[in-house]
Symmetry: C2
Subunit: 194 residues, 2 copies
DNA sequence: ATCATTTCTTAATCTAGGTTAAGTATTTTC
DNA sequence: GAAAATACTTAACCTAGATTAAGAAATGAT
């Protein structure tokens, strides 16, 4: 139940007093999510955001054919939530699942709104991290519109070198938007090319 | 040079005093961008965000093959910027072009930072609109991963009914991620189906 | 009004990536 | 540590959407 990684994360963009840190801590929950268990499942109304203290989560949807699409991986020090459901308070279509046993700090929507009132600096913090997240999604959308599968895979390898050998390939396929079979074919070709 | 649509936009999420409105007005620029002229071009370092008072802008990239990809349309009352370049202060790869003669309110990055200091409520305002924008991009990425071209076209028609008959089809194609020829084929099929 | 430019359509042909299926690792579980 | 489940590979075949090309329609400029 050690929230220091979270406060390090805050410190990247804002400075909090000890009192503020204590206050924020009082509004947090701590949770261990076992591998393959869910933080959020589609159809639910999301009540909280998560910060990964260690381990790794992934957020994915399942389409009408039953195919999974990974919208985000959240390794240590990343934030993840079903923003759509959290903001609209309608049932979401995101599943957030632990890839390994994962420790998270949770902030309920209610407490987050409280925090914004009591510690307005946090508005800035979340504005900044959401801005960065927005840029990343714009970039990724653009990649999906303009790059080939091979190029997207190479980019993934560059962007997430720590994940590449630690997660199942089929989940990388579900992130870059190809079938596992096709990714396998791509990789075989790349190996041969060397 | 009438900024009232902008203050209506602010009023959706925060309440400003007359004094604050005057202060903010002093930090804004007004500009008319003629049809086919640019607010921002790839390679430039973005210095400002734009709010569309009337008219319509579009943000697009050009890939290595010379193909355009539309990342966003910004009709009246929308915000648009090359967030990547604005935040990183590196050369961007977005082009923001007027589709018709367009009036915009501009906020320079410097003035926006000033505004945040003087009127902290604006942190909340921008946090909220960026959150919404993030949800929209996540949704769109998911659509690109999970829907067919036909489904994406139908969704576009639902989402932007006001644009559908007012912008060139090739730009809708560049938004949903197909060639103009293929979109034309899709539409011919839909008409026949009726 | 006329010519030039841009947009849209149609159709033939092509290809990146999907599907199906079967076999081979690799993990997980008890 | 064996059986079961999951992940990965390979290969033949298939299809949604791309490419190329040429003509028709609409829009804009003079």
């Amino acid at each position: 139940m050690d929230f220091t990684p979270l406060f390090h994360n805050f410190a990247k963009h804002i400075t909090l007093t000890k009192t503020e840190e204590k206050y924020i801590t009082s509004l947090l929950d701590f949770k261990i999510i076992k591998a393959k268990e869910f933080l959020v499942q589609q159809g639910e109304i999301s009540k909280q955001s998560a910060f990964v203290l260690n381990g790794c989560l992934r957020g994915y949807t399942i389409d009408s054919e039953g195919t999974e699409h990974v919208l985000s991986f959240a390794p240590k020090d990343w934030w993840i939530a079903d923003m759509y459901s959290l903001l609209s308070q309608k049932p979401g279509n995101l599943n957030i699942e632990a890839m390994v046993d994962t420790e998270v700090a949770l902030i309920s929507k209610t407490n987050q709104d409280l925090m914004y009132e009591k510690v307005p600096k946090l508005e800035r913090f979340f504005r900044i991290i959401i801005e960065k997240s927005l840029v990343a999604y714009q970039q990724r959308l653009n990649d999906n519109l303009s790059l080939t599968a091979t190029e997207r895979y190479m980019k993934f390898c560059k962007t997430y070198p720590q994940l590449i050998n630690n997660i199942p390939q089929k989940q990388i396929a579900a992130y870059i938007g190809v079938t596992p079979e096709f990714l396998s074919k791509l990789r075989a070709k790349q190996v041969k090319a060397k």
